[in-house]
């Protein structure tokens, strides 16, 4: 009998799993099911070049249709999976169709966290997760329009940057004391705050939203009411306040979930022959010695590869350094690693020059870097982290040493112990703080 691998989720992780199954020699049927009516596409450009109108729609697609035909991957697009019967190994689609599987990959991604206040359903309120979301706001995305962006994460900042460059009048409301508060340090957050202000964005921190009112009763203008009592008029409102992992399908099939679908280092869930990958997967990371749920292209791609390898019998435990990027104005922020729990932030370079890196350490060991227009530091940190090297704080900050050479001199005593803390991968709340409050959201993928 021919084996069938069914992939639920047509985003970056799902597409990668399909490709990697074939590359790994899987000869059975591969069926990719996506609830959006289009081929898997890249989400990062949605709040960057695609929103700016600088990228053609066809360039968003991860692979052309001919590619899937060539590697014999069936696509069922625009359909939702409504149930999994894990004993019979059958899934049902909302269309009534059923499909048997021997291997089931859940790459269900996440959905946007909705604004929860009176008037949140105003027709001018938009979210930014899907191609359809961008298309829905395009007619309102015109020079001179008033835009309020709610949320100081990557999506909010990138959207504000594109909009202000496009001639919109942008107000950005950030709930935390600085932008990017969930994922970076106050220093880097403050830097981006200044950058946006200089670019002409009206940016308010420590500002929540208490209601959206319909200004003239005709659905044309939204009035965003802040918790401090201001009323900001908007022709278009974009909300970027986080992502919720899509776990309901897994949960209803009895698959263990805890801030995402719980998987082991091979991408296996608690139920046999069911795997999970990407934004929805809560996984152990041996570099940090704890569980993570990440929303990123890197994680989606690498976990797609991991589950495919497991299914192909070429088990390769997932042990990647997380990395992220964000483009705003002339700035490229590249982050390697996870800084949570850092006790020291070292700036390399001059913040005012708009080209600098911040290294985050705990007990003298590197946890992460935020590199702003400093790709060499980003690359160096990825190498240091993936090899478990120990580089001194003095060295990291010493600009007379080229970034490329930072890892050349390490402390061999500490190097033996690669995990910053215990390498124990217990399932206990191991979930890092920010992933509970919805993750390292950036370059989101489904």
């Amino acid at each position: 009998m021919t084996e069938t691998a069914v992939i639920v989720g047509g985003g970056q992780a799902g597409a990668q799993a399909a490709v990697s199954l074939r590359q790994g020699g899987f000869t059975g049927r591969v069926v990719l099911i996506g609830d959006e009516p289009v081929l898997p596409y890249q989400r990062p450009p949605l709040s960057k070049t695609y929103l700016a109108g600088e990228l053609a729609k066809e360039r968003l697609f991860i692979k052309p249709a001919a590619f899937y035909d060539k590697i014999n991957v069936e696509r069922i697009l625009g359909k939702t999976v409504s149930a999994i019967d894990s004993r019979q190994q059958v899934i049902s689609l909302s269309s009534g169709q059923c499909l048997s599987y021997q291997h089931l990959i859940l790459a269900t991604g996440g959905r946007v966290r909705q604004l929860d206040c009176p008037g949140a359903g105003h027709p001018r309120v938009h979210y930014l997760r899907t191609l359809a979301d961008v298309e829905a706001m395009q007619s309102e995305f015109t020079a001179g329009a008033r835009m309020v962006v709610i949320g100081g994460g990557y999506v909010g900042l990138e959207t504000a940057a594109v909009a202000v460059k496009h001639g919109l009048n942008v107000t950005l409301l950030v709930a935390r004391p600085t932008p990017l508060g969930r994922v970076t340090s106050p220093e880097v957050g403050k830097f981006f705050e200044d950058v946006h202000r200089q670019a002409g964005v009206t940016l308010c921190c420590n500002t929540g939203v208490s209601a959206i009112e319909d200004d003239a009763g005709d659905g044309q203008v939204a009035a965003v009411v802040t918790d401090s009592g201001y009323r900001v008029l908007a022709d278009v409102v974009v909300v970027g306040i986080g992502l919720l992992p899509n776990v309901e399908l897994a949960e209803s099939a009895g698959v263990a979930c805890d801030d995402g679908i719980t998987v082991d280092e091979y991408g296996r869930t608690s139920v046999g022959n069911i795997y999970a990958a990407g934004d929805c997967a809560n996984h152990p990371n041996p570099i940090y010695g704890r569980r993570l749920r990440l929303e990123s292209v890197q994680n989606a791609v690498d976990q797609g590869k991991t589950v495919a390898a497991t299914i192909c019998g070429k088990d390769k435990p997932y042990a990647q350094v997380p990395w992220f990027w964000s483009d705003q104005y002339d700035l490229k922020l590249q982050t390697a690693g996870i800084n949570s729990g850092y006790d020291q932030a070292l700036v390399r370079g001059d913040i005012a020059s708009r080209s600098f890196a911040v290294f985050y350490l705990r007990e003298g060991r590197l946890l992460a870097v935020d590199a702003i227009n400093r790709p060499a530091e980003f690359v160096a940190a990825r190498n240091i982290l993936s090899k478990g090297l120990s580089v001194s704080a003095e060295r990291l900050q010493d600009e007379s040493i080229p970034a490329k050479a930072l890892a050349d001199q390490t402390d061999p005593l500490v190097t033996e112990n690669t995990a910053p803390e215990s390498a124990q991968l217990s399932a206990q709340s191991g979930v890092q703080k920010r992933s509970q409050s919805n993750a390292i959201k950036h370059d989101r993928v489904a």
Binding site: P64, K332, A376, V379, A380, A403
Partner: protein
């Protein structure tokens, strides 16, 4: 039209006609050239479109940017002919260009 030839690790050559200005990572993906991933979509953020440019063409290429140079440090088998395909655009000067693709990206 401009001709670009991709030669994969097994020695199979694919000659592709492209329009001026297109990104040679995109061309590879669209034409199912093996060994090119392009995970970041062409913004020099991932180094998964590493190619070795045929030495005869090395001098005709636009100079490498600081970002590309840094990112290439992540690539396996980097040498003096290494480039990121996403940073190369088809141009009349590159008509006939030959790119060698690796067995896989890092």
């Amino acid at each position: 039209m401009i001709k670009v030839t991709y030669i994969d690790h097994a020695g199979t050559a694919r000659e592709i006609e492209v329009e001026e200005g297109v990104d040679l990572m995109d061309v590879a993906v669209d034409n199912l050239v093996p060994g090119i991933d392009g995970d970041c979509g062409g913004v020099a953020a991932c180094a998964t479109c590493h190619v070795h440019v045929d030495p005869a063409w090395q001098d005709k290429l636009p100079p490498m940017g600081e970002e590309e140079d840094a990112m290439l440090e992540l690539a396996d088998d980097r040498n003096e002919n290494s480039r990121l395909a996403c940073q190369l655009k088809a141009s009349p000067e590159l008509d006939g260009l030959i790119l060698h693709t690796p067995i896989g990206q890092h």
